[in-house]
C-alpha cells in the first residue's frame, strides 16, 4: 500500500509538473473584455498594413447577436466609440449595426465581430471569403476558429493575431514587415 501510495504520489507529481507549465501558459492568456477605443485604434492601424485594405471613410458593420446580452452590450459600446467617426491615419471608421442574420446583405467595408456571437460568427467568414470584406475582433477564439481574419488586444500589451488560412481564403495579404511582428497561426 505504502509503495502504491508513493507511486501514485510520484504520478501525481509528474502530472502536476506537466500541468504547471501548461497552467503558466494558459494563465498568461489574457481574459478578453469588451472592445475599447484603444482596441479599435489598434485594429485601424493594423489594417493599414493590409494590401488593398480599407481606406478613407469606411462603414464598419458591428456584427452582434440580439439574443446575447454580452454581444449587444459590446455592440453598443463599439457603436458609441465610432458614432462621431473614429479617424485613425487615413481611415475614418463609421458604424452600422448588423444582426447576425443580416451579415450577408450588409453593405459595409469592414466587419467588427462582437463578443458573444458564438457559432454565428462563421457567417462573417463566408462573406469575408466571397466579398473580400475583412473582419476584425477582440474575441480571439473567433480568429482561431476562422470567423475573423484578425484579432487585436491593446492591454496589457498590444497583440495582433492573424488567421493565415482565413486570410488566404479571403485573398487578404499583409505587408511582410507586419507579418513578422505579429502572431500568426
Amino acid at each position: 500500500m505504502k509503495k502504491m501510495g508513493k507511486v501514485k504520489l510520484r504520478r501525481n507529481t509528474r502530472v502536476f509538473g506537466l500541468l504547471l507549465p501548461l497552467g503558466f501558459v494558459l494563465g498568461s492568456l489574457p481574459a478578453w473584455a469588451a472592445a475599447t477605443q484603444s482596441d479599435l485604434v489598434i485594429a485601424a492601424r493594423a489594417l493599414g498594413f493590409m494590401e488593398n485594405g480599407p481606406k478613407g471613410d469606411v462603414t464598419v458593420g458591428i456584427v452582434y447577436d440580439p439574443t446575447s446580452n454580452q454581444s449587444v452590450q459590446d455592440a453598443d459600446g463599439v457603436q458609441k466609440i465610432l458614432s462621431e467617426g473614429l479617424k485613425v491615419g487615413n481611415l475614418t471608421l463609421k458604424p452600422v449595426m448588423v444582426k447576425t442574420d443580416e451579415i450577408a446583405a450588409a453593405k459595409v467595408g469592414l466587419f467588427f465581430l462582437t463578443e458573444g456571437v458564438g457559432g454565428d460568427g462563421m457567417k462573417v467568414a463566408v462573406v469575408e471569403k466571397t466579398k473580400h470584406i475583412p473582419c476584425v475582433t477582440v474575441d480571439l477564439p473567433q480568429v482561431r476558429n476562422g470567423a475573423c481574419v484578425m484579432g487585436v488586444q491593446s492591454q496589457p500589451k498590444v497583440e495582433i493575431l492573424v488567421n493565415r488560412a482565413a486570410a488566404a481564403d479571403s485573398g487578404m495579404t499583409f505587408a511582410a514587415v507586419f507579418r513578422m511582428m505579429i502572431t500568426e497561426f
Binding site: S28, K157, A175, V177, R179, M180, T183, E184
Partner: protein, 687 residues
Amino acid sequence: MIPMSSRARLVGLSGRAVTKSTWFHIASAIALVTGSTDAHAQSMDYGALEQLFGEPVTTSATGSPQRASDVPANMEIVTQDDIRRSGAYDIPGVLRHVAGVDVLQWTNDQADVGLNGYNQAYSPRLLVLVDGRQVYADYYGYTPWSNVPVEMGAIRQIEVVKGPSSALFGFNAVDGVINIVTHNPQFDDVNTVAVTGGTQDLAQGSAVATVKLGDAAFRLSGGGRVNKDFTTPVPPPFGNTRRMADNRGAVDLNGVIRLNDKMELGIEASHSSTDQNEVDPAYTLASVKKRMQSVKGQLTADTGVGLLKATAYRNWLTADELAGPPFGAYHFNNQLTVVQVEDVFKLGADHTFRASAEYRHTTMNTTPVTGADVFYDIYSVGAMWEWKVAPPVSLTNAVRADTLMFGRTGSIPPGYPFTNADWNRSTTQMSFNSGLVWKPGTVDTIRLTASRGVQIPNLIATGGFVAITPFFSVGGTPALGPSVTMNYEIGWDHALPAINARAHANIFHQTINNLLSIVGGFIPTASSGLATPAYVGNSRATGGEFGVTGHFLENWRWGANIRYEAVDDRLLPAAVGGTQFVDFQHTTPRVLANANLGWAHGKWEIDGFVRFQSRSRGLETLLGSLGSTRLVQIPAYTSTDGRIGYKITEHVTLAISGQNLTASSQQQTSGPAVERRVLGTLTVSVP
C-alpha cells in the same frame, strides 16, 4: 551567393578592385528583385509601427523587424524624445545617459564610446552604423563621432545593442552595435532649423528639410559648428601640440524613390568635415583634420520570396594628423566599398529567416612612409532563424562566416622587413548569436543569450602605418590574426504596472582572446629593428546591470541604472601594469550609474541627469618613452547634466542645457579635464 574563390579583378570607379563575379551576382540579385511581380510594401515605417505596437521597433538585433520587447539581446533604444530632452548637441552626449555606456570625453568635441567597459582612445570594439551604413572608420578601427554626417534633428532613434553582433553585422561588432536610424523622408515630414550658442564660444547651426516630389521623397540635412577646445591643462605626457579651434560641418542627402507599388530605391550621399583636437591611440593629443564622404544606394522590395534588399555603398575618408615628433604628420586615405544582399522571409506561422551575403573591400595608403596601399577583402554569408517555439517562447540563432583576405601593393621601404607576398594570407571566421526569449507572463521577459564576435586588426596595425628612421622604426605587421569575444548573458525584464515602471536586470560574462596593443612586437632588422603591434594577452569580465524606468503623476518620468563590472586581464609579463597601451582591468570602472528625472507639462520640459563613475585608472604615455604607457588614477566623479525647454509658440522652442554643471572642470579621463558646458538652443519647426 557571392563566390569566395574568384579573385579576378575589375577596376571600379575609384580605381579600386571589385571582383567581376561580385558585380555579376549583384546584377542578378537586382534582376531578381525587379522581376518580381507580387510584392507590395517596402521599407519599414518605424513611426507607424511604433504607434501600432506602442513601443519602438528595430531590425538591429536579428536583421528582421521586431518590437523592442521581443529582441533576443540586451538592447536600449534611445527615442527622439530622449535625444531632444537630453540637451546634448552631439551623439556621445546623448549616449552618456544610457545604461552601461562608457564615454571617454577627451576634448570638447572628441569622445570614445564603449559598451560594457573595454573603452580606450580610438575605441575599436564598437561598430557604429547610420541606417545600416558603417561609419566606423577601418583605418584606425574606431568611430569618429563628429564626422557622423547626421544632424540631431534628423535622428529617429539610436539603437544600442550590447554584446557581440558579428553574426549580423560582421567583424568589429564585438562589444556591440550602435545603429543610428534617421527619419525616413517617405513617412516622416521633418523640417527644423536650430541655432545653438554657448560656452567654449560655441556657435552651431543645424537644419533638416524634407521634400516630397511625386513618388520620391528627400531629406536634406546639414549643420556647422565652431567652438574652442577646453582650456584645462594638458598633462605633459599627452604632448605639447597647440590646441586649435574645433569645427565641424556636415551635409547629408537622403532620398527614397518609389519605383512602383512593389519596390523602392533609397539613395544617400553625405559629406562631413572636422578640424579638432583628439587623443589618438598613442595617448597623444593631436590636431586632426578629417573629411568623410559617402554614397549609398539601396533597392528594397517586398516580394513573394520575402523582403529583399540589395545595398551598395562607398565611404571615403581622409585624415591629416599633426602629431608631435619624431614623425610629425600623417596623412591617411581610407576607402571602404560594401555590397550586401539579404532576404528576410517568414515560413509558416512560426519561422522567420534571414539569408545574407556581403562583400567588402577596404584600403588605405601607407603613412608617413608613402608609396604603398594595404587592404583587405571580406566575403561573407550569413543566416538567421527565429523560431516561435510556443506563444511565450522564441529561439533565435544566427551564424555568419567571414573570409578575410589581406593584401598589399606598392613599394617596400628600405628597412621594412617584409615583402608584399607576406600579406597574401586569409582566414575564415565564424560568428554566432543565439538567444532564447521566454515570456512566462504578461509582465516578465527572460532572455538567455550566447554569442561569438570577431574583431580584426585595423589597417594601421596591419601595415598602414610605416615609419622608418635610422635609429628606430615603427610599423604594422601582416602577422596579426583576429581577436575573438565570447559573451553569455541572462536578462530579465519586469513590468511594474502598479507604479507605471519597468525594471530590467542583466548578468553577463565574456572572454576575449588576443588584446591588441599598438606596440609589443619587435622584429630585429639590419639597422635598428621594427616595433610592431602585437597581441599582449587575454581578458575576461563578469558584470551585471540593473535599471528601472517609469512615469508618475502623468507629467513626470524617471530612471535609474547601475552597472557593476569586474575585468580580469591576463597580460603578458611585459604588458602588466598598463605598460603597453592596454589594461582594461584597471581602466574599466567597476561601477557606472545613471539617474534622471524629468517633468513635462504644457510648454515646459525640464530634465536632469546624474552620472556616477567609480574610481578607475587611465593610460598616459610614459614620459621619455615613445612605446610605453603607465596607469594614472582617475578619481570617482559625479557629473550633472540638465535641460529646460520652453515652447514659445507651437513651432518655436527655446532650450537651455548643460553638461558637467556642478563643476567648472572635472577629471574624467587621463587626458585634459572636461569643462562645464552651457548651451542655449532655439529650434524652429516648420509644419
